[in-house]
């Protein structure tokens, strides 16, 4: 039987790793849930942002938080540009999968052309910093990531709930024609939301640059688990996405601590199936 320290430590690192799942799931969940667009290029955009953070940091010595100020608005603009294509060609849910898959591949190739397929690591002295609480170690960067993800998820949740734009978006997601007849300019709002989704990818990318070693093919690393997270957290629900991310992160980590680590992916997808079948109210 594993010790309490081991279990506690596994829980902490799992929840924190889940923060990344949640952060990546956020933008995906919004565009899927509210615009019916499944944006596979979300991950590629996050990696583009990560590479840009790396580039600015390594070659121009720009601190990541400053580069984020540049990259996140740029990603917002990319989101708008991408939405222009969705809009122009009246892309539906299925076609969006195909088109954004192509985007992702093109971005992957572009990234590889510029940065090569070789590993890129943005070395910072804080990337492996941690502090101690009782017997447990808390990694600083992952903690910040979780706080940022928490603020974003909470803020987005409030925005959807409390602002006119947020409510109009939800109304339009349910029935775009009726919402339009009540004056909701769904098109404009959809641009805004696509931009936001891409901006969130940009924020995730900043953290990916700091936490992970980059290679173009890594774009696909998070795809499966983040899709599970989006579905468990319910489409279009930002708090759900974050919560589901942490739930999956924690269960994977506990499975790795208690069972064989190889069970981790089985655990997350079993969790997905259980939750889909059980469909609890509170989730």
């Amino acid at each position: 039987m594993p010790s309490a320290t081991l279990l506690g430590q596994a829980l902490i690192s799992g929840v924190l790793a889940g923060g990344m799942y949640g952060l990546l799931a956020l933008g995906l969940s919004l565009s899927w849930g509210l615009l019916r667009l499944v944006n596979l290029s979300h991950f590629a955009l996050a990696f583009l942002a990560a590479y840009l953070t790396y580039e600015l940091g390594t070659n121009y010595h720009v601190a990541p938080w400053w580069s984020a100020m540049l990259i996140v608005p740029a990603m917002f603009a990319m989101g708008l540009a991408q939405h222009w294509i969705f809009d122009k060609f009246k892309v539906n849910e299925l076609a969006s999968l195909l088109i954004t898959f192509s985007f992702a591949i093109i971005l992957e190739v572009a990234i590889q052309l510029y940065w090569t397929a070789d590993y890129r690591r943005y070395e910072t002295h804080y990337s492996t910093m941690s502090f101690k609480v009782g017997p447990f170690y808390i990694p600083v960067l992952e903690l910040i990531l979780c706080l940022v993800a928490g603020v974003l998820a909470w803020g987005t949740w409030l925005w959807l709930r409390k602002t006119y734009v947020g409510k109009a978006l939800r109304a339009a997601a349910e029935d775009a024609d009726i919402a339009a007849a009540y004056g909701v300019d769904h098109k404009k709002l959809a641009y805004l939301l696509s931009g936001m989704g891409a901006a969130y990818a940009g924020i995730a990318g900043t953290f990916i640059a700091l936490i992970a070693t980059l290679a173009p093919a890594q774009i696909w690393t998070w795809l499966g688990v983040v899709f599970a997270v989006v579905i468990i957290g319910r489409l279009g629900n930002p708090l759900g996405a974050l919560f589901a991310g942490m739930l999956i992160g924690a269960s994977e980590s506990i499975a790795m601590a208690v069972l064989s680590p190889a069970w981790a992916p089985v655990v997350s997808f079993s969790l997905l199936i259980v939750i889909l079948l059980w469909d609890p109210e509170w989730l």
Binding site: K167, A171, A179, A181
Partner: protein
């Protein structure tokens, strides 16, 4: 006084089928118009054409002198077309209050005023739209349309499918809106005897065409006309 709404030679349909042909009507500011007719004659098609959710074939729709016939629905709504659809179409995933505030526009009909008008909605303000009964949904649909502060309110069979006691309540609401508040609007109804006392004028549609137009009071008194076009027996 200038007409708020002037429809001239409107034809509309679905696919190749022409459902409305050459309909014209006028509505002055402060006037309420009843649109009567049997099932399937094109009443909903007429309303939907004003809202902008059907395919118009020809004709013009002037709202306050401006032709809105080519505008998309969201721009018509912004210009003051308010709609209570036949299917009600409540946003089920939004709460009662959110259904109203998601589409509200500034004007005399604030959320507070809508709630004063429909106390039942206020009681259920935090419930999901999907949890409402039929009558409550109809009230929410009306409240939601009012909150857009429309210049022209279109109601498509508001009493359809409701229990008699709820129908009575709704008719009181409509009386208050069109008689006391002086709203301008069109009410589509099958129950002619119930709605004619509320409206100023009435028209009857048959197979997509206007077969009668006149004052509500006169039509109410003309039992033969009602019998002929609507199958309403005297009494």
């Amino acid at each position: 006084m200038a007409d708020l709404l002037a429809i001239e030679g409107l034809s509309a349909g679905y696919g190749r089928a022409v459902v409305l042909s050459d309909v014209s009507l006028r509505l002055a500011e402060g006037e309420a118009l009843a649109v009567l007719g049997r099932n399937g004659v094109g009443k909903t098609t007429l309303i939907d054409s004003i809202v902008g959710v059907t395919r118009r074939i020809s004709g013009s729709i002037l709202l306050g002198g401006r032709d809105i016939a080519a505008l998309p629905p969201e721009q018509r709504a912004a210009l003051g077309v308010g709609w209570v659809p036949q299917e009600r179409n409540i946003f089920r995933s939004l709460s009662v209050e959110e259904n109203i505030t998601a589409v509200a526009r500034p004007g005399p009909w604030s959320l507070q005023r809508v709630f004063d008008f429909f106390p039942r909605l206020k009681e259920r303000r935090h419930q999901a739209g999907s949890s409402l009964s039929g009558g409550e949904q109809q009230m929410l649909a009306i409240g939601r349309a009012l909150a857009t502060n429309p210049r022209l309110l279109l109601l498509d069979e508001p009493t359809e499918g409701l229990a008699p006691i709820i129908v009575e309540e709704l008719l009181r609401v409509l009386t208050a809106l069109f008689r006391d508040e002086g709203l301008t609007g069109i009410i589509v109804e099958q129950q002619a005897r119930k709605i004619l006392p509320i409206t100023h004028r009435a028209l009857i549609l048959e197979r997509g065409q206007v077969v009668h137009a006149g004052a509500s009071g006169e039509l109410l008194a003309d039992a033969a006309m009602l019998e002929r076009h609507l199958g309403v027996t005297a009494g």
